[in-house]
Subunit: 216 residues, 4 copies
Amino acid sequence: MARKRSDDKRGRILEAAVKVFARKGYFGARVSEIARKAGVADGTIYLYFRNKEDILVSLFDEVMAEHIARARQEVGRTKGAAARLRVVAEHHLSLFSGNADLAVVFQVELRQSTKFMERFTATWLQDYFALLTEVMAAGQREGALRSDLPLKLATKAFFGVLDEMVTSWILGRKDYDVGDLAAPVVDLFLRGAASPAKEREARPALRAVASARGGR
Amino acid sequence: MARKRSDDKRGRILEAAVKVFARKGYFGARVSEIARKAGVADGTIYLYFRNKEDILVSLFDEVMAEHIARARQEVGRTKGAAARLRVVAEHHLSLFSGNADLAVVFQVELRQSTKFMERFTATWLQDYFALLTEVMAAGQREGALRSDLPLKLATKAFFGVLDEMVTSWILGRKDYDVGDLAAPVVDLFLRGAASPAKEREARPALRAVASARGGR
Amino acid sequence: MARKRSDDKRGRILEAAVKVFARKGYFGARVSEIARKAGVADGTIYLYFRNKEDILVSLFDEVMAEHIARARQEVGRTKGAAARLRVVAEHHLSLFSGNADLAVVFQVELRQSTKFMERFTATWLQDYFALLTEVMAAGQREGALRSDLPLKLATKAFFGVLDEMVTSWILGRKDYDVGDLAAPVVDLFLRGAASPAKEREARPALRAVASARGGR
Amino acid sequence: MARKRSDDKRGRILEAAVKVFARKGYFGARVSEIARKAGVADGTIYLYFRNKEDILVSLFDEVMAEHIARARQEVGRTKGAAARLRVVAEHHLSLFSGNADLAVVFQVELRQSTKFMERFTATWLQDYFALLTEVMAAGQREGALRSDLPLKLATKAFFGVLDEMVTSWILGRKDYDVGDLAAPVVDLFLRGAASPAKEREARPALRAVASARGGR
DNA sequence: AATGAATGAGAGTTCATTCAT
DNA sequence: AATGAATGAACTCTCATTCAT
């Protein structure tokens, strides 16, 4: 809210950065190119951002803050685990479905280094996982989800599926709308791939995997 | 014959590179540091690799060639969709479970750029997806998997889950064995998260998502 | 306007380059040494020149452009082939007589490679030869020069003599002024070395050498 | 004569070097390329030459030793200044006329640096100049050459003309034989460019240029 | 607040030369 | 004598960042 003088130079820089990062990659992106695309002088970038990395990090923080807040809000207004998971999936996928450049930045460029990954994990991914875990735990309490569902594992799995859908989309021809995958993804997650037939080959009892409690 | 004195310099360089890439990141890694760690002169690197990027790409190609071949082989010896998916999951996870540095390189460094990602997709990921799709299609034919299972989507989902397990593991405290997650992951994938109870809230029919036919 | 602070950085870089190229040779010259001598940072060089080669080429282009223009101008103000040739010779020799470093660069460094030589030939040498040929053709028309003088050959010869005077001077002790050679050189070129005596040994008729029409 | 074991590796290396130096330039030439073209191992080069520079210098020394010896010999068998100058010119030009690669090496590559130039001046050029000066001094004594001919200047001039003919030829289309220029060059040198007419514009007395005694 | 000329550290890669075989 | 794998010094150029204006 601070520097909102003239015509939102900060916003223009972020927009330009998304484009340049998406096309050239973070390391390949030149600060001067971002400046040119944003219509400002090189030095001006440094009035709004500490350094090149701060542009990427800020971009991510701002998009995520809003995204999570909105997802959480709508989840709050929704009843039932299945519906709630659908809400999350729809939010997740639609965040990128209209903006391939942003998707590239989030799926590829932001994962440049363990440093970024760890920061990303420590900030919003943790929140995001907490939201998913809450939804699932509630689902268990209300009987919609299996009581023996390993929550941590299921949370990561759910995220992993959505993440792969986005990555797969940006690396492919993008001739479909990722947003449309929300329903089938949730359906698969809930019902599983196995045929519901009575007799199937030995279905091993779910070994409680206390191990997957691991961080991230 | 050729490289007489060399006691597998090439292998030593690759090993050193895994370590350095894992610790410093691809861009942060210095060729001279790899050379030092491998116990060779800087110039020697260039007798075995075209350039820095070629080290990363070769590393990936060689590990993957062997990995896929072995997975495919054991899948061939195994019967039943569930068992086969477990084989794939075990291979995938155990590839990294003993080698966190390799995991970092594959999960993080190799995804530096869309350029790498696209290469990776075009080469082995395509093969890997094909293997998974075959296994699932066979599973449908034998009645083990739902006949309305969207194969492309399920393939990506299965991969996405495994991929996230590895990423999550390397970014966390690594105080468990990722390899142990194979069984629970496959179980979740097959049975789904939903409670098998008769009455659950509206389970929407799986909308055939012809859209997810997209590339990658 | 533009480069505000610059007190002719470009000029200072060129001056420094002449010194460094003359002392170390083009390949032996270090860009950082030129920068140091010019009192600028290494990177600054690249604000004014595309690369190291561009420094050499620019140097040559700028000196030559002015040199040829001035020679052509004074030739235009002078009457008579002999006087005009003297003007050219004086210009040529005096260009270097006060500046041994520049002479070294032009006589030695600029001839590093056929690439430079060809460029040099294609640009100003062609102009220079044209000027000389014009002067001589006019000399023939006015009767001052032999009508059977092979113009192309004579042009090259005249240039060759001047060029050798400069080269010889820079490689020697430089204890005389090359500029003073203009008059005797032109005199030799005009009168020839042979004794004007009636009886000399067989003077073979000048075989028209259509062959020397060759390029350059 | 020393190492003449197997099949004249030394000669093959020199031949290969002429080609590579001519095509790539001295600095651009790779020792390994010379080795490859000569059909020997890289290391073998160093059994015959101290280093890369020594290849160039040896090449030049050997060609020159023979060239000068032969020119001097034939000059000894020839009578009259004009004929002798023609002998020298013919030798000079025919040395290169059949071998454009050698010409490039001698006219361009050997002039890489003042270091080479000075060595070249100190060794054979001095000899060559001495031969020319002797021929001209004898010509003066026998009355064929003007008694007021400045010998040093005339020597350099004669060399300069020949040198330019060769350079001009290699940089041009080479669609004529440089060797054919010997006669017209000598003719021009002897008779001069001026019309022999009685009345010409002021012919300034030749100012004795004691100064041009300078080295080289 | 904005500019953009100037900075200068930094690293991938080449290649002449060596020397164990 | 011959080899060629190994060496490692050396250098141009880029580009994030600064700061005088």
